[in-house]
Symmetry: C2
Subunit: 282 residues, 2 copies
């Protein structure tokens, strides 16, 4: 049976992404992003799902750094999940908002609901947990009038009631997850792909003014649409950067190989992190 590893614990956004995308496979929670990626690399699991961008439980830096510096596993898919935070309670203990004396959650989730908490639960104490799933677990095990902030998966995992839906301050917040595997034939995603994407890592030959502009020329005159560009330190010291660039199409036979060849001729190092399909979870 195909096995899927994800960043745990249960009831987190990564688990929600995995459940919405895959069916029937064996699913295993990992404690950290590196542990999950290592397990894919060593073949202990077939597929790994890790957060890439705008995540609650992890940071893009950690995932990107690990994929660049430690292991090279192809990205075979991307899952986009809207961030929806709900107020979760035990309905046998809390009947109305004003009953709530304490709110538990991950600090980023607390921050995402800053306006709501300020306006509606101004007197409640805030308690930080290591994940939104952990917060739901604490509430489910307590007979005190407390609440958790978390997603729908956390509510059903720990038998909590959603007292108030969508309490996050910004409606258009998304988390991107990468699907990693050395065996792309085992990746069977139940929803339909929304489009394709290619992610490139480009290291400049020197830290000179205008170098990035020159690099982007190779994409611009081919009318290749970029959906993301980000500079990151190379970790060999401050002042040296590489770029992560997402192009809105699959790696083709002509245009993207042409970009790669030109940039390499200019002295850049170019790595294709993956060419993959994008899946939206609604």
């Amino acid at each position: 049976m195909t096995s899927i590893g994800y960043l745990g614990p249960k009831g987190t956004f990564t688990k929600l992404a995995v459940d919405a995308t895959f069916n029937g496979e064996h699913k295993e929670a990992f404690k950290t992003i590196p542990e999950c990626i290592d397990a894919v690399d060593k073949g202990e699991i077939d597929i790994g799902v890790v957060p890439l961008e705008n995540a609650i439980e992890g940071t893009v830096q950690l995932t990107v750094d690990y994929l660049i510096h430690q292991v090279r596993i192809p990205v075979v898919g991307e899952i986009v999940v809207p961030i929806q935070q709900h107020l979760l309670v035990r309905s046998d203990i809390v009947q109305k908002e004003s009953d709530i004396e304490e709110v538990h959650s991950h600090s980023h989730a607390i921050a995402q609901c800053h306006q709501y908490l300020h306006q509606n639960l101004h007197n409640a104490k805030i308690a930080f947990t290591s994940s939104t799933g952990k917060a739901a677990e604490i509430v489910s095990n307590s007979d005190q009038p407390i609440a958790a902030i978390g997603n729908r998966a956390a509510a059903s995992e720990y038998g909590l009631e959603i007292m108030k839906e969508n309490i996050h301050d910004y409606p258009n917040n998304h988390t991107r997850f990468l699907v990693l595997s050395h065996q792309p034939e085992k990746v069977k995603i139940k929803s339909e792909a929304k489009g394709d994407k290619t992610t490139l890592l480009i290291t400049l030959p020197s830290d000179q003014a205008g170098a990035l502009h020159q690099i982007l020329s190779a994409f611009a005159w081919r009318k290749l649409n970029l959906s993301k560009i980000e500079s990151r330190p190379t970790k060999t010291g401050l002042g040296n950067y590489f770029f992560i660039i997402d192009v809105n199409q699959a790696y083709d036979d002509v245009l993207l190989p042409g970009v790669k060849a030109e940039l390499e001729a200019l002295g850049c190092q170019v790595t294709i992190l993956g060419s993959y399909s994008v899946y939206d979870i609604l």
Copy 2:
């Protein structure tokens, strides 16, 4: 007396940055990034210090989003702190590494020391905390053979011994902090500035191929050196982006106003988030 707010609790990297940069002021810990920024905006504190990049206890997204969407406070300085993680113990309980049965820390700190933990503390249980400071507090209050991963400030704050120094996997990891204030005259930083920087937010008029290339032309032909570029969704929906660009010089009278005028003529929205000095903490 000048008051400084920072992202708490005690013993975190933000506190370390504040202590290394400021002298004698009244210092106040805040629970979340938005709370700290709000307090500066309302004048409850004079200066706020919040993580911007590569942070353990916060994410760039949260800080940037809040500064763009909720409040507009000038950035008056940047503090760069190397991330150095140490193994912290109570020396009356733990004498050698092999005594340690459990390691407590924030999940990002655990992940940053992934290789070290794998090689040296393979059998120790991992326990996640809401911050590196919290982990140090737990270890200081326990009579069990446990350890925390955290920085020097956490060790001295909670009276712990540094059993092993620099256990992080990558030596060149830094955290950037922004100093925010409506009263720049109150910001007195004890170390000497390393250089100047200007941060701009640029929103494109439309999501077209090559638009970013056109924007960078305005910087490139003036030979303005960019130290960072990052695209971010505008939150008005997927597919719309703005760019955060750091230029390695102060906002001057000719070159940067020229860039701004040209980009605005092209239909871009340009906001100067700040022009400020950069301070390195060693």
